[in-house]
Amino acid sequence: MADQGKVDPMHQFEVQKMFDMFHVGNHEVAFTTSAMWMVIAGLLLWAFMIGGMKRQLVPGRWQVAVEGFTGFISGMMNANIGPEGRKYTPYVFSLFMFILMLNVIGLMPFGLFGLHPFTVTSHFAITGFLAILSFSIVLIVGFWRHGLHFFSLFVPHGTPWWLLWLIPVIELVSFLVRPFSLALRLFVAMTAGHVLMKVFASFIIDGIAAGPAVGLGVGIPSMALMVGISGLELLVAGIQAYVFALLTSLYLNDAINLH
């Protein structure tokens, strides 16, 4: 949003309250722009999945698309965890599709229609929540299945006895860092991409404001870069959703099969 001719690349990340709802303790819960996009993402996802529910033996195009996504995730779970991973496919699939939908919706040029596009996954509160959810499931599954034996995760196979004082500490730290790396990776990738696009967009606006010569000289290369970066960001949107789901499945594998 241009404020006195300046484009603030961070303004796009601001969550705006749309209306108040109720109080939890002394915290207010409101319907926000972020909430609106999450609801839209959930509904779009639901509408997309409805097309895959025809359950035909010979699928149509839509059903093939939906089955492509489900097959992608169940294949990944099968490859990383094995047959026992099937139980957790609904969670990882929901995670992947939800994040993918939010990432892609955040990239759509809704601004052309006067809407305020917003990338929900560019908020640490959201990615952090999902990462902690994944991490909690890993912990619960790990302790549920292996009890205290789950701690053997911190002593990898083949650790020499004289390193037993060091390796478990390193493993513990790397284990505890998982939720942060999971949350930060998605949050930073989304934020950085959108800042980059906003910065290039502001180059075009500022260049045009500085006159036709500067406008053409700066605007055309910036526009060309914008086109490329938009494509790249679509790729990143998919990759980050995939990475989140992949790492969740790998962590689940640790909890299910230990090492």
């Binding site: 309250k17 207010e28 999450m38 639901w46 929901s94 908020h123």
Partner: protein, 165 residues
């Protein structure tokens, strides 16, 4: 950075967590738990059907192979039988022909030897006649030419000597 500075606002974290819980809960329970298993079941059913159909096709192929093999064996056997009966018939025919030929040969040889014997008998009788006629003629010739009467036996001996060298 609003993502961090907005944490200071009273409503921010509560609203974000509440709504992500609600929407992700919807996605997980309705889509992940409700729709995904049905879609996976459809895919599994299709995979199973394809595998079953392939197995059935393979079995049918094997059965067809076996059938073809047995047909081939049968036709080989009947061909061999046919060949055998043809050879048998040929052998029999050849043997019959040989037997008949041998019989005919024997008959012909008999006839030939009989004919030869006849010829020989005829010749010897003819020769004997020629001898006696020649002796008579020689006796007559001598008598006419020289007027000497020769004994029939002498004339015969002389003619025999001339005739047989």
């Amino acid at each position: 950075m609003p993502q961090i500075s907005q944490f200071a606002e009273n409503w921010y974290a509560a609203s974000q967590i509440f709504w992500v819980l609600l929407t992700f809960g919807f996605v997980f329970f309705v889509i992940g738990r409700g729709m995904l298993p049905k879609i996976e079941a459809t895919v599994d059913a299709r995979d199973r059907k394809v595998a079953d159909d392939l197995a059935a096709a393979k079995a049918a192929h094997a059965a067809a192979d076996a059938l073809e093999e047995s047909y081939r064996q049968q036709s080989d056997a009947s061909r061999a039988a046919a060949q055998k009966s043809v050879t048998d018939a040929k052998d029999k025919a050849a043997k019959d022909a040989e037997k008949r030929l041998a019989k005919i040969d024997a008959e012909l040889a008999d006839k030939l030897s009989a004919a030869e014997a006849d010829v020989r008998a005829a010749r010897s009788s003819a020769m004997a006649e020629i001898e006696s006629v020649a002796a008579e003629a020689a006796g007559d010739l001598v008598a006419k030419l020289s007027g000497v009467k020769i004994a029939a036996a002498d004339a015969k001996a002389a003619v025999k000597a001339v005739l047989h060298g």
